[in-house]
Symmetry: C2
Subunit: 452 residues, 2 copies
């Protein structure tokens, strides 16, 4: 009954009604499908649409041309697990006691950490709205119950439950181990097959597909037909196969007449690691400079999101949850308060600006940097000199002298303007303190000097 | 007599004769003056002409528009001392036993290391050709005799004999200490005053001015009228003052009618350190990724070097010595064999390509990377994982698996293509081994695995 009420609300949404035509009109009572494609460790500069010259990504470039390309889209963490937790819940991982969840490269089956059971994922929330849900690919939020995808709102799971460099390397379908070790060469193509099959099987009902590729996280593997194809070595081959995969998903949606009924997102969980390009950004995976956290962000929804739009408005993965709630029915849907803000009006072109959220970037539970509007503040920049002197494991002995970068003219975070904008620093520190006070006590304690 | 013979050779150089007009014609028997302006730790992306948005550099941008802007110009070391040794001698510092000359931040007056006495600098060579020579600014090649500027071909010296973060901080004129500690706010403007005075006093004879600014090396200081002027904080103010300084030098040359008789170079000794922008390049000062070694490179010589030319041909500081020898008379001029190659034909537009030199980049005596044509090879890339794990002081325990980057499509050194170009790797390793075999035994020993 409750589900029915929500669909009725959807039915009377005037914006979507006027966009619905033909076959789509017949299904207009259905809220839109959602496909979120997540690359692993892909850099801001790895796609043609973002300036890559050595890698050809015609499908992603076309997807961008047919939708919205965000040039200031953030993952709120520079490493895998907290990024994924934040994307799926709309909340910072530092709230969940898993900021320290650095799964080691060799797993033990007693390792029972994972996304807490009281968190609500996009899958849980959309399933409550009648969606078929699937997670295909990398999970990395706990491989044992009650932390598996199946415990967190997904009807279906197929993939490696963690990173592709971790042992034991295994491919699972639901709870069944299909392969050990995984044949990684065909991983991307098998994920794609699973994804298109899921779409085919669920085209008549609303669905949420979370397609989280393991690539281009190392070790790099492409299938036979993509090997030695790019001008960017194994990394480029892998990205070109991911691009092909995106093309397959889009072709499937088109073939099934689901184009205008499906919102497709593309992003990466953090910046590039050893290989891969951060474009003009400073730093890489693991750093909270933008090279570690600013990622490609493409949204395609024909008839709803204007084609060919490019925006430099800051948005982040934490905003995806509330945005999807707004686009698929009523706001809400989560048991716990969200950090994200709904950007539905911005995506649909009703609002010129994004919601103007404050984005926080942590190293474990220690706040490092924040982005707000045109400003990026480093409240605890790693002490680079110590770092270079070999004290990388002492990164928490950080500098607490704020640095301020004006991202509107300094995308590479090269010029500290804190001294000439004390008012901005003060305002940002106030906003940061205000937000941190809503965090668990241990996070407040770790950042005590920011709360003074 | 010998000097006279050389000037006569110059007189009959047809190319220069046809370019000489008016007042310049009357002085055509004189070889061209040389002004080399060197910034300290300035990044590839810090100038408007190289993409900076937060910093305004109208004088350097105009200088580039009136001459040649090199987009693949290298300093052959990512740190100060070996960079300067290589620029002034046309030879790698690793040949000189001073690759390890990392002057500590606190000097002792017993520290008697420095540029060896058997090396020939540009100043020595040009003085032998009748030039007045001055070094104004940072030296950093030994502050005690026999390593001072005055021991290495310079008639005149004014400046801080080393970096501006070193103690005791002192300003010297010749051997006289003028100030201790140095008032750094007015350093750039005083260097500029000294430089223009030297030009005025020597306009009637050929001169070589080596104007080696201490800025924007930290600590950052700009004079009153440049403070808080830029949109890039203290770093930007300092760069804008350096830009003003370049403008003053160019205005002085114009006023004295020396424009067409003076080759002016602008470059930096290595990439940016904490602040400053490497543009789209990977890494910073201290790294042999291009962000540490590729620098702005501008050459202006009206009537000889075509205005508005931009070239991506690789060239480096080691090529400056032989190029200047060719442009000021006969090749040669150095007591020891050079690593650089003369690029006179390329600068003057007679040759479409630069000499195609192999450029080596060392960390101390350990070869790290090399650039040849479109390729950059990493023969001993720092083991980033160890580095991040805190083993930065063990950088010499390096990986010896070559990585290859195609700089023609991958300026950010993001995509290793070694596996798809084994022939290129083999050829480059052969060239590297061939060159390393000409190095002193201790350098060969340090790189033994590259000589197998």
């Amino acid at each position: 009954m409750r589900r029915h009420t929500r669909w009725s609300a959807w039915l009377f949404c005037p914006l979507l009604l006027c966009a619905a035509t033909g076959r789509a009109a017949a299904q207009a009572q259905l809220p839109p499908n959602v496909v979120f494609i997540y690359a692993d460790d892909m850099g801001y500069g790895d796609l043609g649409a973002y300036g890559a010259r050595a890698i050809k990504t015609p499908n992603l470039d076309r997807m961008a041309a047919e939708g919205l390309r965000l040039t200031s889209f953030y993952s709120v963490s520079p490493v895998c697990t907290p990024s994924r937790a934040a994307l799926l819940t709309g909340r910072y991982a530092a709230r969940m006691g898993i900021a320290n969840m650095h799964l080691s490269n060799v797993l033990t089956f007693q390792d029972s950490t994972g996304l807490p059971t009281d968190e609500t994922t996009i899958a849980t929330a959309l399933r409550a709205r009648g969606y078929a849900t699937a997670c295909i690919g990398k999970w990395h939020l706990g491989h044992l119950a009650p932390h598996r995808p199946l415990d967190h709102g997904f009807d279906y799971y197929y993939g490696i439950p963690y990173s592709n460099d971790m042992k034991p390397s295994m491919l699972k379908r639901m709870d069944e181990i299909l392969e050990e070790p995984v044949q990684q060469e065909t991983l991307t193509s098998r994920y794609t097959e699973e994804a298109t099959r899921f779409i085919e099987q669920n085209g008549s009902r609303p669905f949420f597909l979370y397609l989280a590729h393991n690539m281009p996280h190392i070790p790099l593997f492409a299938s036979e037909k993509f090997k030695n194809r790019s001008a960017a070595g194994a990394y480029g081959d892998v990205v070109e196969e991911l691009d092909w995969s995106v093309g397959e998903v889009l072709v499937t949606l088109k073939r099934l007449g689901l184009d205008e009924r499906t919102i497709v997102f593309f992003a990466s969980d953090n910046g590039p690691w050893y290989e891969g390009s951060p474009g003009p950004l400073r730093g890489r995976k693991g750093w909270t400079y933008d090279g570690g956290v600013r990622v490609p962000g493409i949204v395609r929804w024909p008839g709803h999101v204007r084609a060919g739009r490019v925006s430099d408005e800051p948005l982040a993965t934490i905003d995806v949850f509330p945005t999807l709630m707004a686009l698929t029915g009523e706001p809400g849907g989560a048991a716990l308060p969200l950090d994200g803000k709904a950007a539905a009006g911005f995506l649909l072109g009703r609002d010129a600006s994004a919601p103007g959220n404050l984005y926080l970037f942590f190293d474990k539970e220690f706040l490092q940097t924040a982005r707000f509007g045109r400003w990026k503040i480093h409240v605890a920049r790693w002490n680079v000199q110590r770092y270079q002197a070999g004290a990388a494991n002492q990164v928490n002995e950080t500098l607490r002298t704020p640095e301020l970068y004006d991202m509107s003219v300094d995308v590479g975070e090269s010029y500290n303007v804190a001294a000439s904008h004390p008012d901005v620093v003060k305002d940002l520190r106030r906003r940061i303190a205000e937000t941190l006070r809503t965090f668990p006590e241990e996070v407040q304690k770790a950042n005590a000097d920011l709360l003074k």
